[in-house]
Amino acid sequence: MTAANPPAGVPDPDFHERLTALAEKRMAAGEVYGEAAADPVNLPMIRHWAAAMGDANPLHTDAEAAAAGVHGEIVAPPAMIQVWTMPGLAGPAGRPESAGSPIDDVLAALDAAGYTGVVATNCEQTYDRYLRLGERPVPATRLTGLSGPKRTALGEGYFVTWNVTWYSEGERVAEMLFRVLKFHPGERKTTPDTRQPYPLGPAVNDDTAFFWEGVARGELRIQRCADCGELRHPPGPVCPSCRSAGRTYVVASGEGEVYSYVVHHNPPIPGWETPFAVAVVQLPEGVRIVGAVVDCAPAEVGIGMPLRVTYRQKDDNLILPLWVPRET
């Protein structure tokens, strides 16, 4: 929905929902087997790879040394696991394990919506055992995550995560988690490490800094008088009950409910897509706080609706405490 800032420059307002539905379908489908390695594990490919990577371990290339070693024969370097099942040039370039996999159409949908940029952000491999010459591992891919749209230094994009498991001779031999960011290259900034500054940042001073420092740490802090213990939001420099300037805070539970709310339609608000909902949230701690309600259709917001706080990065310097529906 709105406050999560649907993709800029994407004309289709339903894109996010369609993409999410597609991803959910693919995730539900679970593991999908791909083609077995085109060539069996073989010495020439190991030799080339080891030379290119500077891997001089004789266990991978020297039959005699290998015979005397722990394996008793030549084994492939575990990190080569992707190499065996990488499709040739005819396959989908840059998407090694995706041929016929459940991630293809998710990535294609992102391409079609303008998220044509791609950068790998995570690759974590774990190995169960070494592959021996002659084995033909089979990859199986499952889509495990889709998140976004998120504003990143490269532009707005979605993170797509999948897992590949390789099997050989009926057992698992290796596993890999792979994550890419698919982004809108048009949004790339001249200085790639800074986001567009959020236009509606708060003023912060000595009386309110503790709140925003808390938000940056994922804490919703409520000012508490160090002398009489009274909780107060919005905070201020002097306790109106006992005149104490001694201030501390409590960390709120992060739960609340809608006390009142609005749905903003007009005029346009910088940094927000209309319509969006904003609520006065009653906290169980006894104070109220104002925040936008996100991850739910504005029409679903109502007085009494249970909420949970969430933290959303608005630019390099600002995280805002927003609210999402809470299951009860």
Binding site: A3, Y198, P199, L200, G201, P202, A203, V204, N205, D207, T208, H233, P234, Y259, S260, Y261, V262, V263, H264, H265, N266, P267, P268, I269, P270, G271, W272, P275, F276, V278, V280, V287, R288, I289, V290, G291, A292, P298, I303, K314, L318, L320, L322
Partner: protein, 390 residues
């Protein structure tokens, strides 16, 4: 207690035309309105020794004095808090006159609010500075809650929830105001009444407020001449005596966003104003024949009727549904059409209407007017007046 009740009066009123594009500077609008008010009173610039306006007005007192040809000033003051200042300008002027600080004070408000800076538009600078106001705004603006309609809508939603009011109840206020404006030649919406169905069909601004719950935006200026009641009686016009004048702010007060009080269904600051007015006047709501209630957004007209004692809490919708705020109703409200119908001059045009009602010269004249209540901006620290026939 020293009281200035009845010792001062509004002796002259003046205004420019109300438009969407005045085509001239705000200072020129101010000067034109001041000239018109002085002409109405039968006074000249040299009679003026005091000027009062809003802190939001862009025309300094000295600039207006230069343009109009006013010489020495012994009193000049500004009233804060947006449209909440309206009746406060008259209160400051009356206090100055009653205490002898000045003899004749002109209150003015002039702006190109439609063709220039529009208050209904979001201003990203609102939460930018670490002033007390900037910090207050910083709890709301970052969440996109930053227009007057949105701030009022938050109160309106809670009011609906607690009292069972509906969008149609708000709509009936708009319909009544536009009906009044339709027969006021000075109103922007002269001859253009609306129906409740049109109100309901108008687009959302900020739910639960439709477009037709929000007052228009206007270019224009209004000025008022305040002097002693004694002097006013010798001037051209029937004086509108200042029977009561008050400012008010409530506990936990904020600018448009007092969401942290125990209750969000009232306007405690208007309650403060109302109590002071009735106390000074020596009578109550039953003794006013018409009221000019600040109507930038319809829901707060209902809340004001309750805060000022015209009906009980949560009952204003019944008063409105029965036609109670129309010209022939129990309490005709805004016979000129209010800011929804006549013009949005930050409440100053409402004071001029109250003076006309007292004089008996209004376009939609209410019968036998002895006392008129006027209020200023709602949701902010505010002010009010009771004006009476001499």
């Amino acid at each position: 207690m020293v009281s200035f009740s009845g010792s001062t009066a509004v002796a002259g009123i003046g205004a420019t035309e109300f438009s969407k594009q005045s085509g001239r500077s705000e200072l020129r609008l101010a000067a034109e309105a001041v000239f018109a008010a002085l002409d109405d009173a039968g006074l000249g610039p040299s009679d003026v020794d005091g000027l009062v306006t809003y802190t939001q007005d862009a025309n300094d007192e000295i600039a207006v004095a230069r343009e109009v040809g006013i010489g020495d000033l012994t009193f000049f003051s500004r009233v804060h808090y947006g449209g909440g200042a309206a009746c406060g300008t008259v209160m400051h002027a009356a206090m100055a006159v009653a205490t002898g600080v000045a003899e004749t004070v002109v209150c003015y408000r002039a702006f190109n609010e439609r063709s220039g800076r529009r208050y209904g538009r979001p201003d990203p600078g609102l939460g930018g500075a670490p002033s007390s106001l900037g910090l207050e705004m910083s709890w709301h603006v970052p969440h996109g809650l930053m227009t007057p309609a949105a701030w009022v809508a938050m109160f309106a939603r809670r009011y609906m929830h607690v009292h069972g009011a509906t969008s149609e109840d708000f709509g009936r206020v708009a319909v009544a105001m536009r009906r009044h404006a339709a027969t006021n030649p000075a109103a922007w919406f002269h001859d253009r009444p609306i129906t409740l169905a049109e109100h309901q069909a108008s687009r959302w601004i900020v739910e639960p407020l439709h477009l037709l719950d929000c007052c228009q935006e206007s270019d224009g200026a209004v000025a008022l001449v305040v002097t002693s009641a004694e002097r006013a009686r010798d001037l051209r016009r029937t004086p509108a005596l200042i029977t009561a004048a008050a400012q008010g702010s409530g506990a936990g007060q904020m600018m448009m966003t007092s969401y942290y009080r125990d209750d969000m269904t009232g306007l405690p600051e208007m309650g403060v104003v109302g109590r002071r007015l009735w106390e000074q006047a020596g009578f109550g709501p039953e003794d006013v024949q018409t009221a000019v209630l600040y109507d930038h957004f319809t829901p707060f007209v209902l809340v004001q009727l309750e805060e000022l004692g015209f009906c009980g809490r949560g009952e204003a919708r019944h008063l409105v549904a029965d036609g109670g705020i129309e010209i022939d109703g129990r309490l005709p409200v805004n016979p000129h059409g209010g800011q929804l119908g006549e013009a949005y001059i930050h409440g100053m045009n409402g004071i001029a209407e109250a003076v006309r009602q007292v004089r008996g010269t209004a376009a939609n004249q209410v019968a036998d007017v002895r006392n008129v209540l006027v209020t200023a901006g709602t949701g902010v620290p505010t002010s009010g007046l009771v004006l009476s026939a001499g």
